[in-house]
């Protein structure tokens, strides 16, 4: 859909900056906020997951979510790009963790009739340690912060151009 007005984009960093690599999504967000000044873009950081995200996402046309991931299949610092559909389908019963997954948040929002973003881009950085209290990432992950910031910044600028036509 071509937009005749400026899109409303939420750029959301998820993680916890006190738990080592868990904070990578927030650190990238903070860099982006410094470098991208655009009235269409709102920047939010959150260390909460699940339902609390349902309070943040509605009424944005596009959501860009930056988070960490731990698959063990790629070296720490590797970045993935997903759509909501790429992540698992709505939950099996959330056994632990007192929360629900991102796909469930979106599906729930839709079912309840909220204006959920029509486009969602998820970036996730492979991490190694999200269990130790420490301010800042492990060196291997920290070293990749500038390149991830640059890549997402460039994607965002392209996204803004495409949606402003």
């Amino acid at each position: 859909m071509l937009m005749t007005h400026e899109p409303k984009i939420l750029i959301l960093g998820l993680g916890n900056t006190l738990i080592s690599d868990d904070g990578i999504g927030i650190f990238i967000l903070q860099n982006l906020k410094e470098q991208l000044k655009n009235p269409s873009c709102d920047f939010q950081e959150s260390s909460a997951g699940g339902l609390r995200l349902l309070d943040l996402l509605p009424n944005y046309e596009i959501a860009v979510i930056i988070d960490s991931i731990k698959t063990g299949k790629n070296p720490p610092g590797h970045i993935y790009q997903f759509t909501i559909e790429d992540l698992q389908s709505p939950d099996p019963h959330p056994s632990l963790g007192h929360t629900i997954s991102l796909p469930t948040v979106f599906e729930l929002g839709k079912q309840l009739g909220y204006a959920m973003p029509r486009k969602v881009i998820i970036y996730a950085v492979e991490i190694s340690d999200n269990e130790t209290m420490h301010e800042g990432c492990t060196p291997q992950v920290a070293a990749t912060l500038p390149q991830h910031t640059k890549r997402i910044l460039s994607d965002l600028q392209r996204l803004l151009r495409e949606n402003m036509q």
Binding site: N16, S47, G72, P90, G97, Q111, M133
Partner: protein
């Protein structure tokens, strides 16, 4: 039977793990519930100005930051030997009551609700919030989400931000309440009380009117006769924010009542080789293993335990619901773990009523919200009832207020022994010789610990946004014969 060594959880990378060991007859000999521990908290805190702990501790977990913030603020009062003005205490309790409305709503409708509304044996793809909404209708779903959102709005007004509140300071709070905000909270409070009653009605219609569910709740597989602990006010009524800790024995008789500062005289911690997390128990009874009864120091906390440890609720509608629960289930104390869900909804109603009481308090808009500390800081212990149970913070500082030691006992840890016992008993009741453990069966076992609302969310922020659970079943030789991952 072969001796089997189980390593602690560190290698699990954020997984919760249930290990079930069968005997030669193929029945459950033992089970272990292992959860990962957040490492390095103590070291992280050492040397920091102690006031920072009110900002750091809420950030160790995205689930209950408000509980840590309020516990930490109270601990800072103790460290600085300062008594906040009445309005500051009421504002903290108001925030905390709103948090309870939000948190208990989340647990009942998102985590526990699907078991009862969609059904404990329903396919896993349907047994979730989406399946619940499909069954009860979108309008109820919207009401649930709205109730949470409004409670979070109260937190936002009082805490200066919604997640990770920053209002608590030693000696009070940083932000008061104006008349306009008071009016907004009055409206939300009224709707929250209606929502609390509505939730109890849903429980009544869906659970209590279904004999199968009532039998399940009262079944031996989900029953443990333990001690119970919770905060009570000077009338022995449930209180989330302040009071004394009261412990009752398995017959419901008062066993101990003490100030938080004396917790080390009453509680001790048992260590097991297979877990880095320790198991608190009642010191004066002693650790006798993972067993229930009067001779075992295992105690329980959280909603059902709080109600069992009290003489009632301090608000009228919640008191009525309290009486109905004990009348229905055969008097106090109730040992049926699954009745925790009912108790949680009674607490939800109490929290909503408490919002209304506090917001109508003539002092609530006063600007006397802080007592400036003047004494030399040294050591302090603070306590609140977190939704998942009693939460202790304990800080020791040097004379300049820099942290020398910090220790937390969080709600779930108090229940850790009981959670293990509940899983074992449920597994023993459900897994017999030759049983193939199905998803449905596994869910029945999980229901035993889901009632406790265990929060181990400290390391679960990474995608996919929920902590995986792995169940490993071993034969009598310790060989892994079945793995179920969620």
């Amino acid at each position: 039977m072969k001796t089997i060594t189980i390593d602690p959880i560190t290698r699990l990378e954020g997984h919760g793990k249930i290990q079930i060991f069968l005997n030669d007859d193929g029945e459950v000999a033992n089970s272990y519930f292992q959860i990962p521990e957040l490492r390095g908290f103590e070291k992280f805190c050492e040397g920091r100005p102690v006031e920072e702990l009110a900002h750091i501790t809420p950030r160790i977990c995205g689930v209950c930051p408000e509980a840590h913030h309020i516990a930490s603020s109270k601990t800072l009062d103790a460290v600085f030997h300062v008594d906040p003005p009445p309005t500051a205490k009421k504002l903290r309790e108001l925030l905390y009551s709103a948090f309870y409305v939000s948190d208990h709503t989340t647990h009942f409708y998102i985590l526990a609700g699907p078991d009862f509304v969609v059904g404990p044996q329903a396919p896993v793809a349907e047994r979730n919030i989406l399946g619940l909404i499909a069954k009860v209708g979108v309008e109820i779903g919207k009401r649930v989400i709205q109730a949470r959102k409004e409670a979070n709005r109260v937190i936002e007004i009082l805490a200066a931000r919604q997640c990770h509140p920053i209002c608590g300071l030693p000696g009070g709070v940083s932000k008061g309440l104006n008349k306009e905000e008071q009016e907004e909270i009055i409206k939300i409070g009224k709707r929250s009380v209606e929502f609390g009653q509505f939730s109890l009605k849903i429980f009544d219609d869906i659970v209590l009117k279904n004999k199968e569910y009532v039998d399940l709740i009262l079944s031996d597989s989900f029953t443990h006769k333990t001690y119970y602990m919770g905060l009570v006010d000077d009338q022995n009524k449930v209180n989330f924010y302040d009071g004394k800790l009261r412990v009752v024995d398995p017959d419901g008789k008062e066993f101990a009542k003490f100030a938080a500062a004396d917790y080390l005289q009453h509680l001790s911690e048992h260590v097991e080789p297979w877990s880095y997390l320790k198991f608190p128990f009642l010191k004066k009874v002693g650790w006798k293993g993972f067993v229930d009864g009067k001779d075992s120091g295992v105690y329980r906390v959280a909603p059902l335990a709080r109600l069992n440890a009290s003489d009632g609720m301090a608000t009228p509608q919640a008191q009525e619901a309290f009486e109905k629960m004990y009348d229905t289930l055969g008097g106090k104390p109730v040992h049926a773990t699954l009745a925790t869900h009912w108790a949680r909804l009674i607490e939800l109603l109490y929290a909503a009523e408490r919002i209304l009481e506090l917001i109508h308090d003539p002092e609530i808009t006063s600007d006397e919200i802080r007592t400036i500390p003047t004494a030399t800081p040294d050591e302090g212990i603070g306590v609140v009832e977190a939704p998942r149970g009693t939460l202790f913070h304990h800080y020791v500082t040097d004379e300049k207020g820099f942290v020398k030691r910090a220790n937390l006992i969080v709600g779930t840890v108090n229940n850790y022994a009981a959670i293990n016992m509940s899983i074992k008993k449920a597994a023993q009741g459900l897994i017999k010789k030759g049983t193939q453990v199905s998803e449905g069966l596994l869910n029945m076992i999980e229901m035993a610990f889901r009632a406790y609302d265990p929060c181990i969310g400290c390391a679960t922020h990474s995608l996919p946004g929920q902590m995986p659970l792995e169940v490993n079943i071993h034969n009598s030789r310790g060989e892994l014969i079945q793995v179920i991952k969620r």
